[in-house]
Subunit: 353 residues, 2 copies
């Protein structure tokens, strides 16, 4: 065989290999149909697409999302937060199994930019939710990873859309509650539940005030055995503390409950409370309005992220930025004047394009 | 006199009036020189320019700022925060008078977007700082007003530059400590002081954790009369609480002190502590680096505000935005796709300009 023929054969092999690869990878249409059919593999693949940073994956993911958006209509999105050690995984396991027994289909997602270092996130806890993992009506997805909270939040939001289109009607979004991620979760859920523990008199210590304000309910977990009394005491203290906050926009007064995820006590009451909240919010159209407000903010945040991207990723601007930055740092020009210079430069570049 | 002649006379009168007005209003050069000479009227006028929303004032203000930037080199910027009732005004009065007696020139500014409703901000407290107001080496400027924290923060930052150019070497920036303004103040000062009160066992309750983390020192005010014991107790509790936080980047361990602004006790120790912090920070070049970091962030924030302004203020985009927003709210398109559409539109508009 001469070299030319050999090259030709190699080339044909390469095409064959490429075609085989293409075959393995389902088409966008197949993924969309798979999601509509509630196929977990299709859902997982689509979420992987959403989480990918590849440009080709991104546009495919957007196509899938646009098809999925109108499908998931009757979902309830619940945010669950609490510091590590509060028993989030066992709570979600207990809560999730109760819900699937009631006929619901539940999806568990997590938003946690630090999940890569695995601080009690469900990435590490997945194996601990032994029974829920096996439940055919539950879908558990480990945390999306990413460097910025904004990026991770975007991925989680989009994954919610996909899960809802796949028929999961209750979405639990978990956060470890040690950073800014609670605000992100709060901005994408209908109900925000804060898990707490009772302790030796330190019930109010170390609580981030902002989280208390965001919570629609506080559940004091591990209210079992010797802890029952102190959990009851903590309940009263939290109720008192919640009274210090101004009433919620929708008229809801945040509730405080006790529960034991391990003994499966109080879990049903928590669901009843959430359900009654949702019913009430739907009646008053607050539910719909809140979802609209959340979607609007998501939209505006997306625009602003893209505006910044466009600006900072332009190599000419980036070079000029370094020069202006030095001038600003040396007090040779004000940040305002330097910013104006760069914006005028951007206008010039765009004109020429 | 015929009508034409009368019209001519009126026109000439109008020119004269206009020229008289122009004379009254000092030129940009005069304002810059006035500031350099430490003229308080010139300083006040320039700050009014900085605070103005008129386009012509804005560009004049930038010219003044650019001239003032290289002038104020040896200043110390101190942020002072605390909830209403903690005694910020009396503390600033006591602290300020001590500093002017030591030969310093001090400027007091406030950052407080809610100042218009006058919740204990220095706008209302100015009259309470009776002695400081009369002090020729102190300059007190009521809060800049404005709707957004970002806007008010920008004005305060720029006013700091003007005050420094006018020879004020210690700048006190006050915030009421009930919103997001502490973060803004923290981002523009060299030292961040949190004022607290001792109380009946509730020393740790109601503290925003973020503020505790930001503080370089806590001063427990009103440590006088019957309060001395409880202030000492609070001091120990705060010291314990501060130990829970990770060490500061620059190696500084936040201090806790007690003081009585009204009895002028402990005020000097607070200054000594701040001064030793500044000396230490300057030696390690952390001071310089921190200022550079702050300026860089200010610069980037300015860029991002301008990018958003350019986008949202375009009438064509704004109209399209409403349409896309409705589509997003109705789940007809994803926020990402809608944002892409608008950004493509912006690119088209810019090209045509």
């Amino acid at each position: 065989m001469n070299i030319l023929a050999k090259n030709k054969e190699t080339h044909q092999n390469s095409i064959a290999r490429f075609q085989a690869k293409r075959k393995k990878r389902p088409s966008t249409e197949m993924l969309i149909q798979g999601i509509k059919d509630g196929n977990r593999t299709a859902l997982s693949r689509a979420i992987t697409m959403v989480e990918s940073n590849l440009r080709s994956h991104k546009s495919e993911a957007q196509e899938i999302i646009n098809h999925c958006l109108p499908l998931g209509k009757k979902s309830v999105r619940i945010g669950i937060t609490g510091v590590p050690g509060v028993g989030k995984s066992s709570f979600i396991e207990s809560f999730g199994i109760m819900l699937t027994k009631m006929g619901h289909k539940i999806a568990v997602l997590a938003i946690d930019p630090s999940s890569s270092i695995n601080k009690g996130s469900i990435l590490g806890d997945k194996t601990r939710m032994e029974d829920l993992v096996k439940d055919p009506n539950a879908y558990i997805r480990p945390s999306a990873s990413g460097e910025t909270l904004g990026g991770v939040a975007k991925k989680t939001r989009e994954s919610v859309i996909l899960c809802e289109a796949a028929g999961y009607n209750i979405i639990l979004i978990e956060t470890v509650g040690v950073g800014q991620s609670e605000t992100a979760v709060h901005s994408m859920v209908d109900f925000f539940l804060l898990l707490k523990l009772s302790g030796a008199g330190d019930e109010l210590q170390g609580i981030k005030r902002g989280i208390m304000e965001m919570a629609d309910a506080i559940a004091i977990n591990k209210a079992d055995g010797d802890n029952i009394k102190s959990a009851q005491k903590a309940k009263i203290e939290f109720q008192r503390a919640l009274h210090l906050y101004p009433p919620k926009e929708n008229g809801w007064s945040p509730k405080v409950l006790t529960c034991s995820a391990i003994e499966q006590k109080g879990i049903e009451s928590i669901w009843k409370m959430i359900d009654s909240y949702i019913q009430q919010a739907k009646k008053s159209s607050w539910f719909e309005n809140n979802r609209k407000k959340q979607t609007k903010n998501w939209f505006l945040n997306t625009i602003e992220d893209r505006l910044k991207d466009n600006f900072y990723k332009d190599p000419t601007i980036n070079e000029a930025l370094q020069i202006q930055l030095r001038a600003v740092e040396e007090n040779q020009t004000s940040p305002f004047t330097a910013a104006e210079t760069l914006l005028a430069m951007q206008a010039e570049i765009w004109k020429k394009q």
